[in-house]
Structures are given as structure tokens and as C-alpha cells.
């Protein structure tokens, strides 16, 4: 048991070190530093928000913050997925060195992205406080729900990323498939639109898209938007579980022989 604990701590330390390197490498030469992780969704929000608010007239209350949360979550998710999928292949130099725990590679990328996400998220909350938007952030229970939603997002991303990065070692075109899928997935997620404005018959599709519910939880707590029906929750939750379990199992099985394919 003690041995297991030691092993776990070491792999954790390695993951943290690689996360730090990842964060450092990303902003080494960027003038604005980590402000970019906030500026990126901000610019996206302004562009998309402007189009939908003034040209198409989306009937959504508080459209700009509504959009911003969606973009933040989506950027974290899609950026992680696209970066982690080829990560094992790119890290061949590290993998050929020793038998260190391979999961450190994908997890370090996800954690560094999550770090950026958190910075942008807190900046966003601060803005909301300043402009006195209606939001329910003063209760302990809503804080717990926010943390639960964030954990959901991070676990979902990790599971899917483990799965895709493993598959990409064996099938190098997974990377391209994921890139194409991300574009489609963006529109299949209620980021620029809300579920309220859709015809009820289409809701079934969203039960299959596991990123929907955690996103909607965040929105409902921060902006007071109505939550989608609970059966969407069940669908999302089950798919999330399937992705996490299959991701871990497949990664565990294949990671022993990664070097044979690299």
C-alpha cells in the first residue's frame, strides 16, 4: 500500500512539473502573458455577440455574459482535446526515456489549460460583480455546484483526451477526425444559442452531448438561466462515465506499448 502511495506521489509530482513547463512555455514569448487566455474569448464574445445581438437578434437575456461562459468552457474543452490528441506522438522523446507514468503527458496539458481557464473565469466573475449582474454566487450551495460542474468538465475532458490520445498513437488520422469533429461539435453545443429557443423535439440530441449539462449548470448559477430537463442530465452523465472509464482502461492497456508505435 505504501509503495502505491509513493508511486502515486511521484507521478503526481511529475505531472505538476510538466504542467508548470507547459504554462511557462506557452507564455514565454507572449507580451501580454496570461491575459491572452482572457482576451481570446473576450474577442470571440464581442464578434459573435455583436452579430447575434444586432443582426440576427437572438432572443436571449444577458446575451454577452451568456455567450462568454459558453466560450470559456468550450475553449477549454476543444483546446485541450485538440492539443492532447497528438500529444503522445509529439512526446516520443520523453516516452523513449523511461517507464514513467504516461498519463502525465495528457494530464499536464489539461491542467495547464484548466489553469488558464480558471484565471479567465475569475476575471469574468469579477467583471460581473462590478457591473452588478444578477447572479447567485453568495450561497455556499451554489459554490459547491460550481465546483461540481468544473470537476465534471475536467473529468470529461480528461477521459475523452486519454481515449483520443491513445487512439491517435495507433491511428494517426484520429487527429484530423477530431479537428473536423470539433467544428461540428461547437454548433451542436448551446454556446451561441440557448436550449430554450429550440423546438422541444430537438432536445434529445443534447442528451448525447456530455458537455451540455455542466455548462448549463454554470450558466444557471451565475446568470440564473433555467436548467434543461433532468433527463438530459442523465444522458450526459452516463456518456461522461462511459468516456472516462473507457478512456482510462484503453490508456492503461495501450500505454505499456506506446514505444512500439512511435
Amino acid at each position: 500500500m505504501n509503495n502505491f502511495k509513493k508511486k502515486f506521489l511521484k507521478s503526481w509530482e511529475l505531472t505538476l512539473e510538466m504542467t508548470k513547463n507547459e504554462i511557462k512555455a506557452r507564455y514565454k514569448n507572449a507580451f501580454f502573458g496570461f491575459l491572452w487566455s482572457f482576451l481570446n474569448p473576450l474577442i470571440q464574445m464581442l464578434v459573435i455577440g455583436f452579430i447575434f445581438q444586432y443582426f440576427i437578434r437572438a432572443p436571449i437575456h444577458n446575451y454577452f455574459p451568456f455567450l462568454f461562459i459558453g466560450l470559456l468552457v468550450w475553449n477549454f474543452f476543444s483546446y485541450s482535446l485538440n492539443k492532447v490528441t497528438p500529444s503522445i506522438v509529439y512526446a516520443r522523446d520523453l516516452i523513449h526515456k523511461s517507464s514513467f507514468p504516461r498519463e502525465s503527458i495528457p494530464l499536464s496539458i489539461i491542467f495547464s489549460n484548466f489553469f488558464n481557464f480558471l484565471i479567465a473565469f475569475f476575471l469574468f466573475l469579477t467583471f460581473l460583480l462590478i457591473f452588478k449582474q444578477p447572479f447567485v454566487f453568495y450561497q455556499f450551495s451554489s459554490l459547491i455546484l460550481i465546483i461540481a460542474a468544473l470537476l465534471w468538465i475536467i473529468f470529461l475532458t480528461s477521459g475523452l483526451c486519454l481515449l483520443c490520445s491513445t487512439l491517435n498513437v495507433k491511428y494517426r488520422d484520429i487527429n484530423f477526425i477530431i479537428q473536423a469533429l470539433t467544428v461540428f461539435w461547437f454548433y451542436a453545443t448551446p454556446i451561441i444559442y440557448s436550449l430554450d429557443i429550440l423546438p422541444k423535439g430537438y432536445l434529445g440530441i443534447f442528451a448525447l452531448n456530455p458537455i451540455v449539462y455542466p455548462l448549463e449548470i454554470l450558466r444557471s448559477i451565475i446568470l440564473g438561466v433555467n436548467l434543461p430537463p433532468v433527463w438530459i442530465f442523465y444522458g450526459n452523465f452516463i456518456i461522461t462515465l462511459i468516456l472516462i472509464i473507457s478512456g482510462i482502461l484503453i490508456f492503461k492497456k495501450e500505454s505499456k506499448n506506446f514505444t512500439d508505435w512511435l
Binding site: L14, K24, A25, H96, K97, F100, D173, I174
Partner: protein, 247 residues
């Protein structure tokens, strides 16, 4: 009292199968064309036991399975069948670029590489000065790794291996790129290392070094052990074999 195990490495019936890829493997190809898979046995039923304090040299032509052998022992890849027992911390120096991130500085890479070898941050902090001294890279330690020459990478890689408190060291070929000065330092280190009852496995085509470092040697051919014994005898038989083929 529990009896201390006296072997460092014990291999029983180790075999390794690779699937030959003629192109980059893709999913589309797998779906649309039931690919002709070609198997290649890199190692066939290897049996070997090495005691603590022994040093083993491995010789053989290219493609005889030397690197696969090291990779299975170090756990970088897993055997297809057979059983392997390793006693102690094992570290490897198989390729000078492996274990380094080209974009990071030398200093950051010492931490990364050290942790890959199983050291903790604290351990690395303690050994940091010695590693820099051994590698002779004081001036360049905050330069990015991609600016390093082959020799510099080699020195840094070996220094980290040397100070990672290993019980078993695996070295593949790379030492040939070092200069006389470095080789002398390496030689002194390995001599002390073996005196402490630790184990070295060394792959090289450079037979004089092999003879200097290793008491025992294995001659691999096509994934099988052709000969195992005293280094001198094994080298002689290897030379004979090569000589015959050349005639």
C-alpha cells in the same frame, strides 16, 4: 531475516513481437482495407540472469535486438511473452535526446529528466550542483536545450543518470560521441559504481570500451542469444563470425 535477492535482473523466456508498419497507421486504412499485418520477432525466448555488481556488455549486428532488449529491461516497452524480474531502480541512457524537452533550458531539463528517471524534486535540488559539475555545462545551463551540441546533450544526460542514485544503469551506444576527457570521467564513475555492488548493461559496437567496462557479454543474433560468457571470449567469437561473413 529475509534473504536478500542476489540477482539484479532475471529474464525468463522473454519474447517480443513487433507489427511491421509499412506506412503511418491510420484508422481509415484499417476500416477500408483489412491490412496485411506482418509480424516481426525482435527477441525470441531470451533467458538471462545477472547478479548484482556484474556488468554485462551486449554485442550484435544492427537489428539483432539489442535496443529492444534494453527497452524491455527498463520497462519502456513490454514483452509479448515471458517474465522479467528487476531488483532496484533502473535508469537508461538510450538516446541523447530522449527525456529532454527541446524548448526548455538546460536547468529546467535537469528537473524534467530527473523526474522521468524517478527522482523527486528535493533529490534533484540536492544533486543539482554535482550534475552541473559532472556535465561541465555551467556556462550554458540556462540556454535552451536545442542549442546544445551532441556532446553537451550527452554529458548532461549521463550526469543526470549518474546522480539519480540508480541500482542498474543501461547505456546504448551513445557514449561513443564523448571526448577523451568525458570518457575518463565516465570510466571512473562506472568503476566506482560497480564497486558498490551495482549493475551495468552496456550496448556498443566499440569493442575496446566494452572490454574495459564489462565482465560478461552477450552476443545477440536475430533476436537470440548466440553466446553468453566472459567478455573476451564473446568478443572473439563475434569477431570470428563477422570475419567469416566478410570473406
Amino acid at each position: 531475516m529475509k534473504k536478500e535477492k542476489d540477482f539484479a535482473i532475471k529474464l525468463t523466456h522473454i519474447s517480443k513481437k513487433y507489427i511491421l508498419h509499412h506506412q503511418k497507421p491510420t484508422l481509415m486504412e484499417n476500416i477500408f482495407r483489412f491490412g496485411q499485418k506482418e509480424n516481426f520477432w525482435a527477441l525470441k525466448k531470451i533467458n538471462l540472469e545477472l547478479k548484482k555488481g556484474e556488468s554485462l556488455g551486449i554485442i550484435g549486428n544492427n537489428g539483432s535486438g539489442k535496443t529492444t532488449f534494453l527497452k524491455i529491461i527498463s520497462g519502456i516497452t513490454t514483452q509479448t511473452s515471458g517474465d522479467i524480474k528487476v531488483c532496484g531502480r533502473i535508469v537508461s541512457l538510450i538516446d541523447v535526446n530522449s527525456g529532454f524537452n527541446q524548448e526548455l533550458t538546460g536547468e529546467e531539463n535537469i528537473y524534467l529528466n530527473g523526474m522521468l528517471l524517478g527522482m523527486t524534486r528535493k533529490e534533484i535540488e540536492k544533486k543539482f550542483k554535482q550534475i552541473i559539475k559532472f556535465s561541465d555545462l555551467k556556462k550554458f545551463i540556462d540556454a535552451p536545450f536545442y542549442t546544445y551540441s551532441f556532446g553537451m546533450k550527452l554529458r548532461l544526460g549521463f550526469a543526470i543518470v549518474a546522480y539519480s542514485n540508480p541500482d542498474i544503469i543501461l547505456i546504448d551506444e551513445v557514449l561513443a560521441g564523448g571526448d577523451k576527457n568525458f570518457l575518463n570521467r565516465t570510466y571512473r564513475f562506472i568503476k566506482n559504481f560497480l564497486k558498490e555492488g551495482k549493475t551495468l548493461i552496456f550496448v556498443s559496437h566499440f569493442l575496446p570500451i566494452l572490454e574495459k567496462f564489462c565482465q560478461k557479454a552477450v552476443f545477440l543474433e536475430k533476436g537470440e542469444i548466440k553466446m553468453f560468457g566472459e567478455t573476451k571470449k564473446v568478443i572473439n567469437s563475434y569477431k570470428n563470425k563477422i570475419g567469416k561473413n566478410n570473406l
